[in-house]
């Protein structure tokens, strides 16, 4: 996650929570308590839902919790804007950003990146995430090919249509 950003964790309640709404909610509450106990920072928002049961906890990472600056400002100050690792090679195929936002190579911090240089990708395969307004937008390959380069550093801002992952079409 980017510095200062509120962090979101979503957990689906176990199926055995039962069809009974009360019981499902109780299950969600227990899960929330566990989660909150493990969090490294103050909770900002909790959302429980008992329909297709969902639990969402949003918190601020501890080291970045400041009371004097709004969260958005801290984040904005972090990292140079839209800095590519290296410029895209003109004319070479690349998977591009579908929206302006923050580029991530993996589905969550610490997870294995979607793709690495040398990987073969199929059309429709997820290759990255661009986060905009706390929504994770999966970026998928529009063609088959071998990954030649990752053009943006993890956690850096990207613009609409910016080349992200360069492909050598298969």
């Amino acid at each position: 996650m980017t510095a200062g950003d509120a962090t979101v964790s979503t957990v689906e309640a176990p199926h055995d929570a039962g069809a009974d709404g009360e019981e499902a909610l109780a299950g969600l509450r227990r899960q929330a308590q566990h989660l909150i106990a493990e969090l490294a920072g103050p909770v900002r928002r909790i959302r429980l839902r008992s329909g297709p049961a969902v639990l969402e906890v949003e918190w601020h990472p501890e080291e970045l919790t400041r009371t004097d600056v709004p969260a958005g400002v801290v984040e904005a100050a972090a990292g140079p804007p839209a800095a590519p690792v290296r410029p895209a090679v003109p004319g070479r195929a690349a998977v591009r950003a579908p929206i302006v936002g923050t580029f991530y190579r993996a589905s969550e911090p610490g997870a294995k990146p979607f793709v690495a240089v040398g990987d073969l990708v199929r059309p429709g395969q997820p290759v990255a995430i661009v986060e905009a307004m706390k929504l994770m937008n999966e970026v998928t390959a529009d063609r088959a090919g071998r990954v030649v380069a990752i053009l943006v550093e993890d956690g850096h801002p990207v613009e609409y249509d910016q080349p992200l992952v360069e492909l050598d079409p298969a």
């Binding site: 100050a77 905009a132 609409y160």
Partner: protein, 480 residues
Amino acid sequence: MFETVLIANRGEIALRVLRACKELGVRTAVVYSAADADSAAVRLADQAVRIGPASSRRSYLNAAAIVEAARQVGAQAVHPGYGFLSEDADFAEICVDNGLTFIGPPPSVMAALADKSSARALMSRAGLPLSPGSVAPVPTAAAAAEVAAAVGYPVIVKAAAGGGGRGMTVVRTPGELRRAYTRTRAAAQAAFGDDRVYVERYLTEARHVEVQVLCDSHGNGVHLGTRDCSVQRRHQKLVEEAPAPALSAAVLDTIAEAALRGALAVGFVGAGTLEFLVDAEEKFHFLEINCRIQVEHPVTEMVTGIDLVHEQLHIAAGVPLRWRQEEIRLHGVAVECRVNTEDPARDFTPTPGRLERFTPPGGPFTRVDTHASAGYLVGPWYDSLLAKVIVWAPDRELALNRLERALDEFDIAGPGVHTTIPFVRRVLDDAAFRKGRYTTGLVDRLLAAPEAASAQRPAATPAPRPASAAEPDTTLRRTR
């Protein structure tokens, strides 16, 4: 003052805001769509963020992308310009929720005023005269007919959520009312997602007079006099001037003071405009209030010497008003005309294309606000406003001569490109206009005149107007 402001618009107004920021030492960032990559604003801004494709729905109307861009550039404030998201209370709220200052009124005030019906009720409570009609939305065609019968025909059916000249139907006889009512509701539902409409008396021979106000966040306000915007075609303004001509000074003062009272009563903050219709007896009726900088703001700047965008920025930064009412003095007359890439001979159909030649006028007291230059491609995606020519002179006669002189100098040419300049010339030539004795009926009268008829080529199918661009251009009649 802010360190960085994000400009969430395009075209001439993006450039206008950018210039104001630079003059105040504010770092500028602009958002742009894939169609505007080569724009003057992108070239001149300290930073530019590409937020989406040409389609405005996915770029200039995409609140999430704009807020992301603001975070990327480290902006503290967002200037929305006019059109697009400038009067969207939800967008203003999203900005505030993300720690950004929205340069405009508080979201709650915007929401209350964006609804024309609620704005009418609020202004009526503040003591402003309304045109006769319903204050609350009319729920049925029968109720609409009752209101219409009470106020007398012609009436105008207006969408509560409409704006920028969209969402209204004029009804001349009782027989047309039911159909117009149903149609306006359906069209309003489609265009604004809100089908509430109200009915008011339609004044055919009236002047459209508006008042510019500035209100700070500390409860202070001033007015900057009047503008006349009666030269309209289907509720789209073509020529504007300040101050409103041929009305008595006492009436102009009364309207301006009433407008300021209304703005302060509703907790307005920022630069705003209250629109009125003034009838032949100089009686005035509140129409609506606009919560944004307006296309025609330069005429007010020219007669007051006050930069309205500077003031917007100061107010948004929390600075108390820098002007007292007695310090605001009107000097001379300013006139603006809009140069749109439209063909007046073909029902003002937009004529996009590449500008092979583009040389704007110059000379004393002549201001041209434009984003265009030679080689510029006028795309089909946004509205057709290409340039505004604004002139100032000590008196109205000289100002009109100066505008004619400026338009003589304006050289615009490109394959298929037409502009509204020939039509504006006809307005400037019109005897009633010259005397300052004109009403909102002027354009229709000119269009019906023999010169227009003979000049008219066979009517081609009017091209669909591009989706909401700068000040929305599409009337419901067009979208049908």
